[in-house]
């Protein structure tokens, strides 16, 4: 049939039709025609179609009309001259012709062809032949049949075409989104993700202008050859309102990027037409990319910090070990020498006792070794504190128990001096690191023993005040004058009067106070000069106390 040649032209004309749609499709609005227009107008549509395109459309239309009429004429000729068929056959032939024209081209051409077919049918086949008899009802049936066919066929073919185009457009969008997803998740860590996203979107989607606003950093990244003017205000507005803006005049869409229900930025696209689904998918991709980079950065920072901490702690441990190792050998040797009894059966000296001078020298070695050892321990601890590396292993501690244990450490060292302990009844537990608090308290008691006259007693009390446990260590030494009360806590500070006699590093009080402060407490000194010093340690309680209960306990 005649459909064969017109089908071969069908392919060409489907392509040509992509540029010739809008005005003639006014009677057949299927779905969002604006979207359809844009799609069929090309994904990089310009604002104003050039005049050349309009002329092309009109030309194509006229061509189709001409061809349609020619087809009808050809059918007529075929049916009258060449084949001599009857009216019924001719009617079917015209119908087929109109169907072919409607399928290949469109409604307008089909309507014109219908009318032509009806006229030919009337003139050549309906009696009286050779005349137009418009009054005959058969005419109207024929015309109606032709028109109906034209309508239905062109409608169906139109719809097919549109769906095919839409499917193609969707596929293209999907491919673009896929390409974007692949490239955006393999970003170059050197450049900012916002910048790269904008560039990729512009590139993959062939978009003239892109602007990406990152709400967290407040930066705006641009992509594409053109520039989006005055878009900053809109980008920010969209984030605040969480709704998108569309400006059809400028062909711009500004939409928020939402992650986890919260807007984290916004995206402006100019001259790009995407279906709603595709736009949402694009925004999600950008959201994921932004968040992924942020999470990675945070994880990297945390890992770097942890490694640095670990390195520092390993370094400090290594330093401590390095110093203590030779000290071990020295102390073992010097104490061995000192303990040698000089008796005949003693192995070291073969029965010859150490001379007093030798003994004195060995004693010096031993004492200085102790001093070095203490210095190393305290210096390492101080470094740990300064580096913020002290990690508290806090647990609830019974204050009375803690103090008893600390004091028991001094039973031999106290050399018969009185160590009085008095703890208020019903004192609540403190939440502290057992080893470190014991160390701090030992330091204070050690100081009290060192800086007070031999034989004088040391008093340790513990009570509750202002929701804190206050432990006081009181001695009967010379006391500390007002102006030095802060300075004694400085690193390496030793009081002038005692510098020559009393062993010590000057770090003890500093360390004790830092330990207390790390717990949220403090250490300070009170007491009248001349009547001794009272060092106070304040430690917070395990839990916040209710005011009424606290008042009850405060005697």
């Amino acid at each position: 049939m005649r459909t064969a040649p017109s089908q071969s032209r069908l392919g060409k004309h489907v392509a040509a039709r992509n540029n010739t749609v809008a005005p003639r499709k006014t009677q057949l609005r299927l779905g969002s025609d604006a979207a359809l227009d844009r799609m069929q107008g090309g994904l990089c549509g310009e604002d104003v179609r050039p005049r050349g395109e309009d002329l092309g459309r009109i030309g194509a239309l006229l061509a189709h009309l001409g061809l349609g009429l020619a087809t009808i004429a050809a059918i007529t000729v075929l049916c009258t001259r060449i084949l001599s068929v009857n009216a019924i056959t001719a009617g079917f032939a015209y119908l087929l012709g109109v169907l072919a024209i409607a399928t290949s081209w469109g409604l307008a051409e089909a309507v014109v062809a219908s009318i032509a077919a009806m006229l030919c049918f009337n003139f050549f086949f309906l009696p009286p032949i050779g005349q137009f008899t418009i009054a005959d009802p058969q005419n109207w049936v024929a015309l109606f049949a032709f028109l109906a066919t034209a309508l239905i066929a062109s409608h169906i073919s139109d719809r097919e075409r549109k769906q095919a185009l839409e499917a193609k457009a969707r596929q293209k969008e999907t491919e673009q989104l896929y390409a974007l997803s692949r490239i955006i998740l393999m970003t170059d860590p050197a450049q900012s993700i916002g910048f790269q996203s904008a560039q990729h979107i512009a590139g993959i989607f062939d978009c003239p202008a892109v602007a990406l606003y990152d709400a967290k950093s407040g930066e705006i990244f641009r992509g594409g050859a053109e520039d989006l003017l005055e878009v900053e205000a809109k980008l920010k507005q969209v984030v605040m309102q969480s709704g998108s803006l569309q400006d059809s005049a400028a062909h711009t869409v500004v939409a928020p990027i939402i992650l986890g229900g919260q807007p984290i930025g916004s995206l402006a696209l100019k001259g790009l037409s995407l279906s709603d689904g595709a736009l949402r998918a694009l925004l999600n991709l950008v959201a994921i990319a932004l968040e992924r980079v942020r999470t990675e950065e945070a994880a990297n920072r945390a890992e770097a910090a942890r490694q640095s901490e670990e390195f520092k702690s390993t370094l400090l441990d290594a330093i401590a070990h390095e110093f203590k190792t030779p000290l071990t050998s020295i102390k073992a040797a010097s104490t061995s020498m000192l303990s040698d009894s000089g008796l005949p059966e003693s192995g070291l000296s073969d029965g010859v006792p150490l001379s007093p001078q030798f003994r004195e020298l060995a004693t010096i070695i031993d004492e200085e070794t102790d001093r070095l050892s203490l210095l190393v321990t305290e210096a390492v601890r101080m470094s740990q504190i300064d580096a913020g590396k002290v990690r508290l292993a806090r647990e609830p501690l019974d204050v009375a128990d803690l103090l008893r244990r600390v004091l028991s450490h001094f039973e031999s060292k106290a050399e018969g001096r009185e160590l009085k302990l008095q703890v208020d009844a019903g004192l609540p537990a403190v939440y502290a690191d057992k080893d470190l608090i014991s160390l701090a308290l030992r330091q204070l008691i050690d100081n009290a023993l060192k800086y007070s006259p031999p034989g004088s007693p040391i008093g340790v009390t513990a009570g509750l005040k202002d929701h804190r446990v206050i432990i006081r260590v009181r001695d009967r030494g010379p006391g500390i004058p007002e102006r030095e009360r802060e300075r004694v806590f400085d690193k390496f500070y030793r009081r002038q009067t005692t510098k020559t006699h009393v062993p010590g590093t000057g770090l003890g009080l500093y360390i004790a106070r830092e330990i207390a402060r790390a717990h949220g407490g403090d250490v300070w000194v009170e007491g009248e000069p001349g009547s001794g010093s009272e060092f106070c340690v304040a430690l917070p309680l395990q839990e916040p106390e209710k005011p009424s209960a606290a008042q009850e306990r405060e005697k």
Binding site: H321, A332, A333, S336
Partner: protein, 234 residues
């Protein structure tokens, strides 16, 4: 005649040197090893009375070496620790060591510990019971074994001696000094903190709830008391 065979295990040559010198002078027979692996080999080849084991060694560390030795021998082990923290001491004892000493130490103190570690109380107590049952734990005094629901618990010789002393003196407060001198020797009189670590270790092993002791009780200021139930399983 030697007072005992000692194996010194430390990666530091100077420490091995000074210990060899002083221990030999005290009449001990000394061998040394540089690493945990060497120590294990030496233990397999010869018999030792005591091992001085450094906690901080590269390769097979001190704790692992201690565990390995303990799994096949009852030899006395004293660990040399670097830090004075309680958890290091507890780790040493948990790994099977009999005792620990913190570097740098004074030689007389180490010698006292060596003597204490080599000392063993006589196995039988006159007029005492053969075995004792405490809740889920059965203590056989003759064979020096402690059996609980989960199996046999190993007590170090010191821990066992301590327990034995408690069992022999039940229900009375025992001062720290008396406990220390009876089990560790006359050089130990007032190291209360030291004793506390061992009592806690013992509690971990025989008390149903170590944090709330029912048998090994603390007598504040004085010492400890062993509350023996009236009925003793024979």
């Amino acid at each position: 005649m030697s007072t005992g065979r000692i194996l010194v295990v430390d990666d530091e040559p100077q420490i091995r040197r000074v210990l060899r010198a002083t221990l030999t002078a005290q009449g001990y027979e000394v061998q040394d090893a540089r690493t945990g692996e060497d120590a294990l080999m030496s233990v397999r080849n010869s018999r030792f009375d005591l091992i001085l084991l450094d906690m901080n060694m590269p390769g097979m560390g001190g704790l692992e070496t201690c565990r390995s030795i303990r799994s096949c021998s009852e030899v006395a082990i004293i660990m040399l620790t670097v830090h004075d923290a309680e958890h290091d001491k507890v780790a040493a004892l948990d790994a099977g060591a009999d005792d620990f000493i913190t570097k740098p130490f004074s030689m007389p103190e180490l010698l006292a510990r060596i003597r204490a570690a080599l000392r063993r109380l006589p196995t039988s107590i006159e007029g005492g019971a053969e075995s004792i049952r405490l809740d889920a734990v059965e203590i056989n005094l003759a064979t020096r074994r402690v059996i609980s629901k989960s199996g046999e618990i190993r007590l170090t010789p010191k821990e066992f001696d301590l327990l034995q002393f408690f069992v022999a003196n039940p229900n009375v407060p025992i001062p720290h000094s008396r406990l220390l001198q009876a089990v560790w020797g006359p050089d130990y009189g007032n190291q209360v903190e030291y004793l506390r670590v061992f009592v806690n270790q013992l509690r971990k092993k025989i008390e149903p709830d170590p944090s709330k002791p029912r048998y090994l009780l603390t007598e504040p200021w004085v010492g400890y008391r062993f509350a023996l139930p009236a009925k003793i399983a024979g």
